[in-house]
């Protein structure tokens, strides 16, 4: 699509029922809405749901919805397989044997609620509400619902994406840019404009810098990766910084195949070139930044030639890419999860944020826009915190040493502090886990065997999910069946536009996350739950949210659902088809217009009012306020002896089109396209290690932990590096202990670990580990057998990290 206006002109709006949100088409009722939960997704594209006799039959994209213009990925296109799946949980279940025995009895919702209510009230009275931990996953309807539930029903400050050491998912980039720039920057692919690529203020990015992610597969953080494919068709040049060759790298002006975990070295060298060759944006730097001299001094000796032996990227490529970024009229940086899944998380975040700042690519058309959640409906974490008593809140589980946690900038509890509390009983024993839409054992939890062993000590665990997952099977005392996307009323404001989701079908006794929170909230703390329905609660979220005067959004949830595009009702553009766009997000140069600071003055929402190249926030947290690098705990440089025996660098967690994290494994179409977990191995390494495409291999680390996946021989990875997939379990296998649907056997997280984090308690080195590979042989002992027999691959002390195999000889480089 090179010409959006032409596409719009040719679009037959009538054929797609312009002006209607629901209609009949033959035997089907068609409903125009948006989707993300469950199956989960970080987006919220417009969909047309075809239903008949209370059953979802077909899903299409909605060409009249400007978020994706009718484009749709295979996860939505196969949604009926998920919604109508025979394995879906139909009723609440209570455990009828030991945990993990796969023995369950059907109970009524009233029985489930009664038992949970009784236990919660007893725990609150006897142990304190802080002993309840509330866990949520990602992508589904959990962003604001579960934090509010934790605060206003459970009254606990301990809400967490449990198992994810070092907050290693997006949060480091969010707090990093918040500290330095006062807001978060997002690539401007025209997504804030209701008229999208045709908007007259928008410009296509001259350069798209894709760093540490594959956006067309991950669609992370409210950003649809294929938007950038549109930009490329409109002329954007590509720079890819990624250990892997991706769609972007194969089409890039510069592909920089960085050694995993050394991105900050590349970024510092780019800063060296941009400043050293005087290519930076003088006007922006002088008017709008603080600390430029300190930054220039920090990177003065970080030349591309200095960087090359560390990051393994040729110096001329770094220099060329830096020059292209600095001399382009705009550069949009699509950065990814690799930033925080390395030990130097905040160092690489600040380096790359600084590149964008000193080249003037902040809040400019086709650059990096400063977005806030639509209509300032941005209470998510921390929603309802005021209902937790100060005494209880002070007991939030945070690591003792972390300045970031002391500043309370992070609303969620620290996962390692929770794990330590369970393992040691300090500062208190945990009495209950409430796990909503999280399959921690298969997905988020670093070291799943350790996680499971710890959680077996927690007396009461409830899991809410649409399917019986390994986590529910292994740990739950009660399992609650969760409704799918088409079975619920809800809304999302991540980032923009506002999106609504409307219920069109039922499935047995499954209930939406919202309804479950509401029902229990009304039983346990009725004074904080004045709403009768999920619709009323969504209205409150969109328009009220406790703030004086409410939010800036004036439509109800139901009005948003029903406002179809139509010139007559006056909402043809900015608010239609289940979405609502916000002018603030669509405005450029907000810092110059006095739109960012509470005092209305020009500038950024930072202590100095400028983009802080030397960051007061970082300094306050005890984090290096200027760009820095830390070598991974095990790497060719930091542990040369270990590297001799484990000569391959393991990355993982790259996405595929078929799956969202640990979801979708039970759908026939997905397993037809992608039957088994794949580990990418360079053909040269295949030959070296005697394996071939399609073989199953073991990947093993220095503490003897291992997992197996199937070889994909490909030059997507460089020799000496492999890449494995995450989130795998096998719903077709035995669910009972010790197998747990095979979730340990192919689990990359057997090799990751808790309690080892970067500066400020942020970042975890899970994309840069050392390993060896060898073929799987018949009769090999499987990980789940090792775990059943020994508990884990190696011994550990409660609340402590694993003993280091080799002390690193190189750590911080700044």
């Amino acid at each position: 699509m090179a010409d959006y206006k032409e596409w719009l002109d040719e679009l037959n709006r009538e054929a797609y029922h312009d002006g209607e949100w629901q209609w009949q088409e033959g035997d089907f009722t068609v409903t125009r809405t948006t989707h993300w939960s469950p199956p989960g997704c970080h987006m919220g594209c417009g969909v047309l749901l075809y239903t008949k006799d209370n059953k979802l039959v077909k899903v299409e994209g909605d060409p009249l919805n400007a978020v994706a213009n009718g484009k749709l990925c295979m996860r939505c296109l196969t949604m009926p397989e998920a919604v109508n799946h025979p394995d879906r949980l139909k009723y609440p279940l209570r455990r009828a044997g030991e945990r993990g025995e796969d023995k369950w009895e059907r109970i009524s919702w009233d029985e489930a609620y009664d038992e949970i209510t009784e236990k919660v009230l007893k725990i609150k009275e006897e142990y304190g509400s802080e002993t309840i931990v509330v866990v949520h996953g990602t992508g589904r309807n959990i962003g604001w619902q579960v934090p509010y539930f934790a605060s206003a029903c459970m009254e606990t400050p301990n809400v967490s994406t449990f198992g994810f050491t070092g907050f290693a998912c997006y949060l480091p980039r969010m707090i990093g840019t918040s500290a330095k720039q006062g807001d978060m920057f997002i690539v401007d692919a025209s997504q804030a404009h209701w008229d999208r690529y045709a908007n007259e203020n928008w410009q296509v990015p001259s350069v798209v810098l894709v760093w540490g992610n594959e956006p067309i597969k991950s669609n992370a953080d409210g950003f649809l990766g294929h938007w950038l494919v549109q930009c490329v068709q409109m002329g954007s040049k590509v720079i890819s910084v990624d250990p892997r060759l991706t769609w972007w790298g194969a089409r890039a002006a510069f592909w920089l195949p960085v050694r995993p975990g050394t991105d900050a070295v590349v970024a510092m060298a780019m800063l060296n070139v941009i400043i050293g060759e005087d290519l930076y944006d003088h006007e922006f730097v002088e008017k709008w930044t603080y600390g430029f001299e300190a930054l220039a001094e920090r990177v003065a000796d970080k030349t591309p030639e200095w960087a090359e032996p560390i990051c393994e990227v040729p110096a001329d490529k770094i220099r060329g890419a830096a020059r292209l970024i600095a001399t382009a009229s705009s550069c949009a940086c699509q950065w990814g999860l690799a930033f925080e899944q390395q030990i130097a998380a905040l160092g690489v975040t600040e380096s790359v944020a600084d590149i964008m700042a000193i080249t003037g690519n902040i809040d400019n058309p086709g650059g990096n826009a400063l977005y806030r959640c639509a209509f300032l409906i941005e209470k998510r974490y921390g929603l309802g915190d005021e209902y937790i008593s100060k005494e209880t809140y002070a007991k939030k589980l945070i690591p003792q040493t972390s300045g970031i946690n002391e500043s309370n900038i992070v609303s969620c509890a620290d996962t390692d502090a929770i794990l330590a509390a369970i393992e040691t009983g300090e500062p208190y024993d945990i009495q209950m886990f409430w796990i909503q839409s999280s399959n921690a054992l298969s997905c988020a939890s670093m070291d799943p065997a350790r996680t499971r062993a710890a959680l077996m000590k927690v007396p009461f665990i409830v899991v809410a999910d649409p399917f019986m997952t390994p986590t529910a099977q292994a740990l739950a005392d009660i399992v609650l069946p969760v409704a799918m996307s088409c079975e619920r009323n809800s809304c999302r404001t991540w980032w923009t536009p506002v999106r609504t989701m409307v219920k069109v079908t039922d499935f047995y006794e499954a209930k939406s996350d919202e309804q479950i929170c509401l029902d229990l909230g009304k039983r346990i703390k009725p004074e904080h739950w004045p709403w009768e329905t999920d619709e009323e609660w969504s209205n409150w979220y969109l328009t009220d949210q406790l703030a004086p005067g409410g939010t800036e959004y004036k439509r109800t949830w139901w009005e948003t659902v029903q406002n179809p595009s139509s010139p007559e009702n006056g909402c043809y553009g900015e608010s239609c088809n289940g979405t609502a766009y916000w002018e603030w997000d669509a405005t450029y140069d907000k810092y110059a217009k006095g739109m960012l600071r509470p005092d209305g003055q020009p500038g950024f929402n930072t202590p100095t009012g400028r983009v802080e190249l030397w960051s007061f926030g970082f300094d306050h947290w005890g984090v290096d306020p200027l760009p820095y690098h830390i070598e991974p705990p095990e790497s060719p440089l930091s542990t040369p002896n270990t590297f001799k025996e484990f000569p391959i660098i393991l990355s993982g967690g790259g996405r595929s089109f078929e799956f969202f994290h640990s979801e979708h494994r039970q759908l026939p179409t997905m397993r037809e396209f992608h039957p088994w977990p794949l580990v990418m191995v360079n053909p040269a390494d295949c030959e070296k290690y005697g394996v071939k495409d399609g073989d199953w291999i073991w990947v093993e680390n220095s503490r003897g932990a291992r997992f197996k996946q199937q070889v994909k021989a490909t030059i997507e990875v460089q020799p000496g590096r492999i890449h494995a997939e995450h989130g795998w379990w096998f719903p077709e296998q035995e669910g009972a202990e010790p197998n747990f649907y095979g979730t340990y056997d192919s689990n990359l997280n057997n090799m990751t670990e808790a309690f080892r984090v970067g500066q400020g308690g942020i970042g975890s080195a899970i994309k840069s580990m050392l390993c060896k590979i060898y073929p799987v042989q018949p009769g090999d002992v499987l990980p789940h057998d090792v775990i059943a027999e020994k508990g884990d691959f190696a011994e550990y002390e409660p609340g402590k990290p694993y003993q280091v195999v080799e002390e690193p000889v190189v750590t911080v480089i700044n």
Partner: protein, 258 residues
């Protein structure tokens, strides 16, 4: 003539066209109306004068199942693959208009699937050959080929189980019944359903002696294809053991060729 133009330079291999097409055409696992092909990734060692040394390109191939979404486009909608294409690199329209977009700057492919007329002719011809009405060595071609073969295509239920039955060469069954049977076609269909459900590998319809004019049993040979599906439409025993978890058969699609 209508066609589909693909600027395959930008295809990302996301599979959306394949799945959207299956949804629209009701195709099952392993069947496609459009199917990705992938070339690469590899790195050229031979100089090729291009933007990068890497080749990694997808190009969807349109199969014979594609009817250019006749029903959708008649309503003014886009073909389902074009609508769903995430890379936004597919276009539908008159081939003359589409060809103008091919600018030589990036790689394009223009597809023109089988036309409706040609499709109708193929069906007629195949049925004529199956029925044996086309003379050996002188197969009639084109729209003039007229089939005398008869196909019975109907649905029914056995308890909760849905049956979809196609009887090809039903005129042979008619002739067989006329010659030997005391029962009519509808009763014979019930017999056949029961026999094929009892034995999916059956190779002949057995007319029982008490239903025959001469009081003796007779057989009419056929070839049977029976496909079983569960309530979600998942094909059972389709070669993917992980799908087959002992679900109840909710639907049988039976094709008998006499």
């Amino acid at each position: 003539m209508k066609g589909i133009l693909i600027n395959y330079e930008y295809c990302t291999g996301c599979h959306s066209c394949e799945v959207a097409c299956r949804n629209e055409r009701g195709l099952t696992a392993g069947e496609y109306g459009i199917k990705l092909t992938e070339v690469g990734p590899y790195e050229y060692t031979t100089p090729i004068d291009a933007d990068t040394p890497y080749e990694w390109v997808y190009n969807p191939t349109i199969t014979k199942a594609c009817d250019l979404c006749e029903a959708r486009t008649a309503m003014g909608k886009m073909p389902s693959c074009v609508q769903a294409c995430q890379a936004w690199c597919m276009y539908y329209g008159e081939v003359e208009d589409l060809a103008k977009k091919m600018d030589g700057k990036t790689r394009w492919a223009l597809y023109t699937p089988i036309s409706d007329d040609a499709r109708a002719a193929m069906v007629a011809e195949r049925e004529a050959m199956t029925a044996g009405t086309a003379e050996a060595g002188a197969v009639q071609v084109g729209a003039g080929a007229k089939a005398e073969s008869r196909t019975e295509n109907y649905g029914t239920w056995v308890g909760d189980m849905e049956l979809n039955i196609v009887l090809r060469g039903a005129e042979k069954l008619d002739a067989f019944l006329a010659e030997f049977a005391t029962i009519d076609l509808e009763a014979a269909k019930k017999d056949i359903e029961a026999q094929i459900i009892a034995d999916e590998k059956a190779t002949a319809y057995v007319l029982a002696a008490d239903k025959a004019k001469d009081g003796a049993a007779h057989e009419l040979g056929f070839m049977a294809i029976v496909m079983n599906y569960d309530a979600q439409g998942t094909q059972l025993g389709g070669g993917k053991a992980y799908l087959d978890k002992g679900q109840e058969v909710a639907r049988k699609d039976i094709t008998l060729m006499f």
